[in-house]
């Protein structure tokens, strides 16, 4: 079996099983971080017992997520706030699930194995499935369903892009190492000194970006109009005014010319930041502009996501049943309805009688407030205003156990490994246990 340089870690890592950590401190090299979606796989992390410290190639998100306490020994399952045993918590969860008629599986912050287990159980129980990030994801999903798009991936950007436009998104905050890993490198497959021009369109420039970028201060909610103006200019149609974009027409025509002259332009956005009505229409207009540009040159979009494993849940559900999140299985066939089967709508209208909230990467992504009984499979350290019916603390993939996760650009499923001993079940194990008890 090929193995390119064994990582310097004591103890053997087995897929989906608990790893025995040594008593003394150890150092893990080439660790993959599962948190923002870029899945950087070059971190060095020191472990002392269950305490982790990011030593190399971290970022604010990674450091916070890896270094958070508590160790697993301090956290126990709870039933209505009272500490209990794992078997009792599982039995109570199964009892609630057995008695429910339309359970909602939401949050869905879990790895591939967890998503597969949830997909199986939601089908069996005739429930509904949604992800905590689905409002943002739907802005992209609906464009793909309606007209499609042309996109690229991180290594292509890193090697080919000579013009990158950051559209309406604080990419530097959400994906802290994006510029360092994809824009800054000068040595590429095709050049010794690649210069990649960066334009911030309706977004504040990232701190630490090495050179002065161009800033175009169009408000994000006006970007749809901006892209429409750019399409018209590209097509040679007469455009009289910059509309309500707040930016002179000459700026738009200048940007069009730069895109047309670029050899490989890339437009980056994070749909999570397009928090205005009908943002999917803005994204669609952008994607149609990109398609127009491809008549004469190469240009691609880069939609970034992947935090709380949103792309993982979406991919797994989609390939199994044909539909992603916001799908109901109660009728024995898959019903996708992005409006009716959102967590918010189901809870507001009282159409779910039980919620199973899953969040194994972030203990701060809490279930929405509701009177509906809630079972939480959450990262250890979750603090509730109101205790759920059942709380089962679970391990974090990439920290407490091995797993797989899809990267932000939707092509790579990276393997994650466990870094410390943990008594916590994975989401997949917890769901399997509940399923067996049904």
């Amino acid at each position: 079996m090929p193995s390119l340089g064994c990582p310097t870690v004591t103890g053997r890592v087995l897929y989906c099983r608990v790893m025995t950590a040594p008593a003394v401190a150890s150092e893990f090299r080439d660790v993959t971080c599962p948190f923002c979606g870029l899945t950087c796989d070059d971190l060095t992390i020191a472990a002392a017992g269950s305490r982790l410290t990011v030593q190399e190639n971290g970022c604010p998100i990674a450091t916070a997520a890896f270094e958070r306490a508590p160790a697993s020994v301090e956290v126990q399952p709870r039933i209505r706030g009272g500490a209990t045993t794992s078997p009792a918590a599982v039995a109570e969860a199964a009892r609630l699930l057995r008695g429910s008629r339309q359970p909602l599986f939401a949050g869905l912050g879990t790895d591939v194995a967890g998503a597969r287990a949830i997909a199986r159980v939601v089908d069996r129980c005739g429930g509904v499935v949604d992800h905590m990030n689905s409002a943002a994801m739907q802005r992209n999903v609906q464009v793909v369903q309606d007209t499609g798009w042309i996109t690229t991936t991180l290594s292509e950007v890193r090697n080919r892009a000579d013009l990158v436009i950051i559209a309406g998104s604080d990419v530097g905050r959400r994906f802290p190492r994006f510029f360092e890993r994809c824009i800054e490198p000068e040595v590429t497959l095709f050049a010794e000194r690649r210069r990649c021009e960066v334009v911030f369109l309706g977004a504040d420039p990232a701190a630490g970006l090495g050179r002065a970028p161009t800033l175009i201060p169009c408000p994000p909610e006006r970007l749809g109009e901006a892209f429409a103006i750019m399409r018209a200019l590209l097509a040679g149609r007469p455009v009289q005014s910059p509309g309500t974009t707040g930016v002179p027409l000459s700026t738009w025509s200048g940007l069009v010319e730069r895109l047309r002259a670029a050899r490989y332009g890339v437009v980056v956005w994070a749909a999570a930041e397009f928090e205005f009505p009908h943002a999917e229409l803005t994204i669609q207009m952008l994607c149609e502009l990109i398609k127009d540009l491809n008549r004469t040159t190469r240009c691609s979009g880069l939609p970034l996501g992947g935090s709380d494993a949103d792309l993982t849940a979406e991919s797994v559900l989609l390939w199994q049943s044909g539909f992603g999140t916001r799908t109901a299985y109660g009728l024995g066939r898959a019903e996708y309805d992005p409006y009716h089967f959102s967590t918010a709508q189901l809870l507001r209208r009282g159409e779910a009688d039980l919620m199973v909230w899953v969040s194994s990467f972030s203990e701060t992504r809490l279930p929405p407030r509701t009177d509906v009984p809630t079972i939480v499979l959450g990262r250890a350290g979750m603090v509730f205003e109101e205790e759920p019916a059942v709380y089962i603390p679970v391990g974090t993939p990439g920290i407490d156990h091995a797993g797989h996760l899809f990267r932000a650009d939707r092509v790579v499923a990276v393997p994650l490994r466990g870094l410390r001993a943990s008594h916590l079940p994975s989401v997949a194990q917890a769901i399997d246990a509940i399923d067996a008890a049904l």
């Binding site: 090929p2 390119l4 690229t152 092509v411």
Partner: protein, 553 residues
């Protein structure tokens, strides 16, 4: 546990069995020799009057991986129109042109198929391909991994590195991605498109690397052959879909320089430029070359009329087709300095001149290739048609009257451009068994599939004899998978998980350090991350076995 299948008419071309009435025995999931008389038979199936074959094998079907999932994401209407309702033994799924993996496994099994091979696995996307195949119930599966437009390979070739190093890279890729064959798609063309090149002919230089597709095909056929990989280089040739591409196809055969080569969905590569519409059938020239060159195998990639979706690694060709989609939407991707893809929904119409002629060209190819061991039955699912159309295709091959009746309904100009009406050949059951069982297993180097001799996996399909061959092949009476009845009367009754099949040729480990350095220097992922462990494959396949087949030494 000994099973006896009594009195069926057996078609087992690997053992020259042509419709003989024979009893078959199954022990512990495998075909067994007739046991001693005193041994107790635990269950007996009376197959009098039935047609019995090994489970069918689809050696080129897009069932798993990123581009399929893109197609699923694009087509919720395809799924709403074709739900797969949950039963006591099967889960909810959906889809006709881009079905969910669960629907895919159930429906293949219901048609008597027991093994399926995904032909376009990107190295960087291999985990997703295996996860999706892993979530495809019942059937055995495997993948062909794509090389030839990845920048690492093109750099090696452009630098004049020795064939031995290229062989090491090819072998490393097969092992890392747990695949059974090597695929090349539009050699060099997927890469050229990233440089804004819109076409790449067989002897045309890549805009950056200055290599030609011919160089790439020659080098990769040699690598596959020298490594002893049973499956030949699996080639999606240059200029797919372009009128006149027969020249590329004939040239590609030449590029193999006599070594084994497999030309896939060859129908899409068999076009001339004659006639008013400058689009004609070149099936005669292509099949003449296939007949003459015994190192060449092909699968047809038949189109059938109706709604489907084209999902391909050939980003260049798909961009060219992007305006012709129906419904009009398109997704294209450049992927990780590795490859690319493009997805365009498509409706083939019998009134449309081009589509009607494409239909005829595919059938001409089936009927003009002499050796049934070197032509395979595919629709390049879903590109030509969904795989659920195979029974209809089989009837077209076996029933000349049915075929000619259908031809007579097509666009009249297209009818005038095809010789199909004069091709009287009808495929026999024996020949269908070769195309769909014996030959694919042999071409993949999988000794235990595609036949019913002792030691074979007990993957058995039992059909009720029916003069309407479409009805016959659409709903087998029984399908056995590893000796268990999984389908009865065309419905799944249990859904175990099938096995993965792969090869792992030897190589010099020096390539690992080179790849590690290259990826660290240029890519956004470490090379080590591409390597899939056996434990991972077991998890992807729900505990199913990964069978690694030997390479020729």
């Amino acid at each position: 546990m000994l099973l006896k299948l009594t009195g069926g008419r057996v078609y087992d071309p690997a053992h020259d069995v042509n419709g003989e009435v024979r009893d078959l025995y199954v022990r512990d999931g495998q075909m067994a020799a007739p046991p001693p008389v005193h041994e107790r038979v635990h269950a007996e199936y009376d197959l009098t009057g039935r047609v019995v074959m090994a489970g069918a094998i689809d050696m080129h079907t897009h069932i798993g991986g990123g581009k399929l999932n893109i197609a699923r994401a694009m087509l919720p209407e395809d799924h709403r129109g074709d739900p797969v309702v949950r039963t006591a033994t099967t889960r909810t799924s959906s889809g006709h042109a881009a079905p969910g993996t669960l629907a895919t496994g159930y429906r293949y099994a219901e048609m008597g198929y027991t093994a399926c091979f995904e032909p376009a696995v990107l190295p960087v996307n291999a985990r997703q391909a295996h996860l999706e195949m892993g979530d495809t119930p019942i059937v055995d599966k495997g993948g062909y991994v794509m090389l030839g437009s990845d920048d690492y390979f093109l750099r090696l070739l452009a630098a004049g590195e020795p064939q031995s190093l290229i062989n090491d890279y090819v072998a490393w890729t097969l092992q890392a991605t747990r695949c059974i064959g090597i695929k090349v798609v539009n050699p060099g063309g997927i890469s050229a498109f990233k440089f804004n090149q819109r076409k790449l002919d067989l002897d045309e230089a890549h805009p950056y690397y200055r290599l030609t597709p011919r160089d790439i095909v020659r080098t990769l056929t040699r690598a596959v052959h020298e490594l002893g990989v049973p499956h030949p280089l699996h080639v999606h040739g240059s200029n797919l879909g372009v009128p006149g591409n027969v020249e590329s196809t004939l040239g590609t055969i030449g590029a193999a320089e006599g070594l084994p080569i497999h030309l896939t969905h060859i129908q899409f590569h068999s076009y001339g430029t004659e006639g008013n519409r400058k689009f004609s059938s070149a099936a005669a020239r292509v099949t003449e070359a296939v007949n003459m060159h015994r190192n060449v195998t092909c699968d047809v990639g038949q189109i059938l009329f109706g709604q489907t979706v084209t999902a391909s690694g050939d980003s260049m060709a798909q961009y060219r087709n992007s305006g012709h989609g129906s419904p009009r939407k398109y997704v294209g991707m450049d992927i990780e300095c590795d490859a690319g893809c493009g997805v365009v929904p498509f409706r083939y119409r019998d009134r449309n001149f081009v589509n009607a002629l494409q239909w005829a060209i595919g059938l001409e190819i089936f009927l003009l290739v002499n050796d049934p061991w070197r032509v395979f039955l595919t629709t390049d699912h879903p590109n030509g048609a969904p795989f659920t159309c195979y029974p209809h295709l089989i009837r077209l091959l076996m029933d000349r009257t049915f075929r000619n009746d259908r031809l007579a309904q097509l666009n009249p100009e297209a009818q005038a451009m095809t010789t199909l009406a004069s091709l009287n050949r009808e495929y026999s059951l024996y020949e269908i068994a070769i195309l769909t069982r014996a030959a694919p297993a042999r071409l993949l180097g999988i000794a235990e599939l595609g036949h019913l001799g002792p030691g074979a996996a007990a993957d058995i399909t039992v059909y009720r004899e029916d003069a309407d061959r479409e009805r016959m092949f659409a709903a087998p009476e029984y399908v056995f998978k590893n000796g268990r009845v999984v389908v009865r009367d065309g419905r799944v009754v249990q859904a175990p998980w099938g096995r993965f099949h792969a090869v792992a040729p030897e190589f010099d480990r020096g390539i690992e350090r080179r790849l590690g350095d290259h990826y660290r220097r240029y890519q956004t992922l470490r090379a080590e991350t591409l390597v899939i462990s056996q434990d991972e494959m077991a998890a992807f396949g729900h505990g199913a076995e990964l069978v690694t087949h030997p390479c020729r030494t």
